[in-house]
């Protein structure tokens, strides 16, 4: 398959790395070459977590500015922060439910107007899918399934053999047994939400 570069951004605790690992496991199951790198310097302490997933032939495990095919944002201001990774042909999929940094909570900084920002982003990339993924995850009973909601939406951007059913299979096999049910439900909710891609 053609090289697909997926940039995933999130806040510590949102399960970004597990989502990236599911993509990796799915790829290896069907023999698609995959490389991934993750950055979570001080994530537990409220920082940003980035994963880069590269599917297809190649050698790098890193995505340069303007080079992401897909930007998957678990949090809207992290999506805005990572926009420099996108080009005019990129697909942006983002949660619109904010997790404000503590600096905003304490009134030291300002949270951006998400609607306005998304309006600008929409005109600059091939497509933008923005939705309240946090609320969808809550429908499964736990905010922790946000990563699977995002993965569901992402599934629309990937071609054969990385099919939604393959992801469902990997979620079944590789995520914690007690979460499988809510994870699968979350994946399907995300898949529905992303159907406009």
């Amino acid at each position: 398959m053609n090289l697909t570069k997926i940039m995933i951004v999130a806040v510590g605790g949102q399960g970004n790395i597990l989502a990236a690992r599911v993509i990796g496991e799915a790829a290896i199951t069907v023999g698609v070459p995959v490389r991934m790198s993750e950055f979570h310097g001080m994530a537990q302490r409220g920082g940003v977590v980035e994963s880069m997933v590269l599917l297809g032939d190649g050698n790098s495990s890193c995505i340069s500015d303007g080079d992401a095919d897909v930007l998957l944002g678990f949090e809207p201001c992290e999506t805005i922060r990572a926009m420099h990774k996108c080009n005019a042909a990129s697909v942006v999929i983002t949660n619109i439910q904010p997790v404000p940094p503590f600096t905003v909570g304490l009134g030291m900084d300002k949270y951006p107007d998400v609607g306005k920002a998304m309006g600008k982003i929409k005109n600059r990339v091939q497509s933008l899918v923005s939705f309240d993924a946090t609320s969808l995850s809550l429908q499964t009973g736990s905010k922790l399934s946000l990563n699977m909601v995002m993965l569901g939406a992402l599934a629309h951007t990937l071609a054969e053999p990385l099919t939604p059913d393959l992801f469902r299979q990997v979620i079944q096999e590789k995520t914690k047994a007690s979460f499988v049910k809510s994870n699968l439900r979350a994946f399907d909710l995300g898949y529905e939400a992303g159907s406009s891609i």
Binding site: G58, S61, V104
Partner: protein
Amino acid sequence: MHYILKNTPGEKVFMLGNEAIARGAIEAGVAFTAAYPGTPSSEIALNFFQVSQETDLYFEYSANEKVSLEMAAGAAMSGLKAMCTMKHVGLNVASDALMTLAYTGVVGPLVLIVADDPFMFSSQNEQDSRFYGKLSGLPILEPSSVSEAKEMTKYAFELSEQLKEPVIVRTTTRINHSSGVVTLGDIQERNTRGSFTKAPFSLVCVPAVSRKLHVKLLENYDKAIAIADISPWNMVQGSGDRLIICNGVSYGYVKDALQDLGQEGQFKILRIGFSHPMPETLIQNTLSGCEKALVVEEGEPYMEESIRSSAQKAGLILPISGKGKDLFSRLYEFDPAMVKKVIASYFGLPFTQKTPVQVSDLPPAPQRPPVLCAGCPHRATYMAIREVLGDDAIYPTDIGCYTLGLLPPLSMGDFLIAMGAGVGTAGGFARATGKKVVAFIGDSTFFHSGLSGLASAVYNNHDFTLVILDNGTTAMTGHQPHPGADINHLGLSLTRLSIENIVKGMGIEKLAVVDPFKYNKTRETIKEIVAHKGISVLISRAPCPLYERTLPHGKKERPFYVNHDKCKNHRDCLTRVACPAFYLEKEKVFIDATACTGCMLCVQICPENAILPVKKESVQ
């Protein structure tokens, strides 16, 4: 069974770089492992720790990197296959032992993993550890991918066995924290019982012995050059009169760049994987007939200088470039687009870069700096000290989560350079300025390199206060145990050391232990402790809440809320405590109940007693 022990040769597995390194060592039959944790190397040690729980592999968290290398050296001198892992600055600590271990050499193989951190994702500097090869005379291997990290680690044991010298495997964060597809190999049987043959006149490095041993090291060095010259880790690919020499992750960037530029196979690429000693003959042969060469390496011009010198020796005259204006920087990480751009401009190739979308008019995303967690005991200690001494004292600090105390409003942290340097520099600040000095050190860091600094301070009659922030774990790197930590729940028969007894044993009489969440008592104790002339020590002890939550007895305390009938909006909680569980809404302070750990620090600060426990029935 631990997944890195899987005995299914040929199976393809998606692994983290650090897991692949651990797997490579397991495949090589490693029997003895030791480490002090340090990002980005920590997961290698974690894997060994886990494997040691279910097999006869020996693993220990040593007090620091020097001890871990010495442990591994003792095992290797007894014929066992040994490994120790560390971050780049850890090798500074271990280097004293390493330099002379290179003289004695080893009996069984010893592999040292050193993980560099270009861009300093989580480090205090971005030093290039390859220079330790030159300094010690020891071989260095550098993988370019996750799968190669496994294979090279395995090979490092063979090389060490062959040369009877320790071998260094140098990685960068982009290898340690990348995942890729790894093909599992056979696992060699572990031999865990060694024997030591006495040979004091070749192992006890007194001057007369070392003079002989240095000769042996240089002979080994020559052998290593001969091996490097024909090593399959140093590969020449493609053809033509334009040459690119690269190492590590840069190799992948170069390959991808040449493909994007439509130049695949039309350049000669020399990938250096065995990078110390550099393969001089191979380099000369590869340069010969080339018009122009570009060296692509993150960090310092380590290869570039060596290549230029090899060219000069062979009388080859051609432009050889790497670092410089319009070329590569010595700073930070590289990325594929940057490498492509430099290759295109240096060799005069047309290229178009993908244009990032315009972002200048997007609303700026607020910074998300790391912060002391909600319920972190360090916050309480820092607040109390700030209340007593404000900005009048000098606060040398140290390496760990507590370094984050530097951020406002706590603003506790005036100088930070290295593990243990808080207590080390404190005496210097105090002598030079005559001002009150309060130094901070974490519990794990205290055992790592605080002990000798404190002993020296007592001996030299210095005048400062040392605050030991004891949260019962090595929190920053992922909650590893240390000599002072209570690890009963792990069922390990290790001996716990008492920080109090150590401090008292050094003859320090002014010592107090506080629970920082008893705020008023802590503040009053601090007043007394800092008034002492000479060395005084405050042990501020309360568990890391993130760690405690994972323990068998761990439970979430009841959270608190702000009663807005009582709150008069003084906002002391916001401006002094600044806990990330607080947030403002319509100019009123709220507490996020899911983040609040119930530490009650803010409760004790609020002048209106407006912060109250959430009623039981309303807790979900």
